[in-house]
Subunit: 203 residues, 2 copies
């Protein structure tokens, strides 16, 4: 596979992306239309179609936009300490912005449509690959430095993403914000036991 | 909360449940209709409405039916050894029946609808509570017997369900059967480290 760090994000129209964000939060995924996005954008639907041919194309760009914002938010972090960087990545992946509840609901709906929608399918796979690439780089860095045990970095990365995705699903389906907190604690326990080889991880 | 083990399942019509299962696998959740279920049932839609007023009511019964089948499949297991019982529960929760791919896809669609659908919301919460009750009983049994460390059983139960739900979501969204295998390994590592206090869980 190509190095995901080489990936270039398409240049999204920031205003349309923000409008899409607001429209998704207001109307949900099922009732999202270009017309409703245009209302938030404050321009005509034609103005949106100038940039994006279809709603699907626009939503694919929106998924990229969310990933890009996430990547930017962790890229600026100053620490290079692998343990701290991993903690920070997990903090961000399992953040609980209460105001984003409606977006999380819409995201799970889009994810559930991946088997029926090739564009979403491709996007979710690529974005998952990108997040795993980031996690794995930090883990490998820690292994090289001797901070972390000499683990199977690929598996540990998948294990952490499983915990992240489980938390996101549970937070939506069970409407439990504590799902994210429980998952954050689980991720810590897992990191302590497997990466740090901490014998008292359970304390 | 009431003791979930006291829960009595409604008595479902087995033939209609099997027909619903087949119709879901064939048509998916979005295109499921009472008419299509009736076709699989081999009777009229009126014959289905005799038992279930609405499609929603039928699907709620179907979710109960799936849980009940799961519960029955683990209830008959002869071992009372907590470690073996926990392994078995995790095996079943993370089983990978290839032929059930379409059902898993439909289940994630239903789960993503929970925030918009009170009947689903209630069912998914209750069913999650029931699964956690089963896991927690085994964990507490192991703690009492001294097989497991004296952990926070409630948290460990949520941690394991987070891994299970993460795997199920990833298996559908990323179309990866390896998601279930990776999660099974992660659950084992977690159990070894946290419940067994195994210092070499990572080996």
């Amino acid at each position: 596979m190509a190095d995901p760090s080489e990936r270039s994000f398409s240049d999204p129209n920031e205003e349309i992306m923000s409008a899409t964000h607001r429209a998704l939060q207001k109307h949900g995924y099922a009732d999202l239309t270009i017309k409703r996005i245009a209302e938030e954008y404050g321009k005509s639907t034609a103005a949106i179609h100038y940039y994006y041919d279809t709603k699907e194309e626009l939503l694919a760009a929106f998924l990229d936009y969310l990933l890009e914002r996430f990547v930017a938010s962790v890229r600026d972090v100053e620490t290079t300490d692998p343990e701290e960087r991993l903690e920070l990545l997990l903090d961000r992946l399992l953040a609980n912005p209460e105001e984003h509840r409606d977006l999380s609901v819409a995201m799970l709906e889009m994810r559930s449509q991946a088997p029926h929608n090739e564009t979403f399918d491709e996007r979710f796979r690529q974005n998952d690959e990108y997040l795993r690439y980031m996690l794995k780089a930090v883990i490998n860095h820690g292994i090289d430095e001797g901070t972390f045990e000499d683990v199977d970095a690929d598996h540990v990365t998948r294990a952490l993403m499983t915990i992240v995705d489980g938390a996101r699903t549970r937070a939506v389906v069970l409407d439990e914000t504590e799902a994210l907190e429980a998952a954050r604690r689980t991720a810590d326990e897992y990191v302590d036991a497997i990466l740090m080889g901490n014998r008292d991880a359970r304390e």
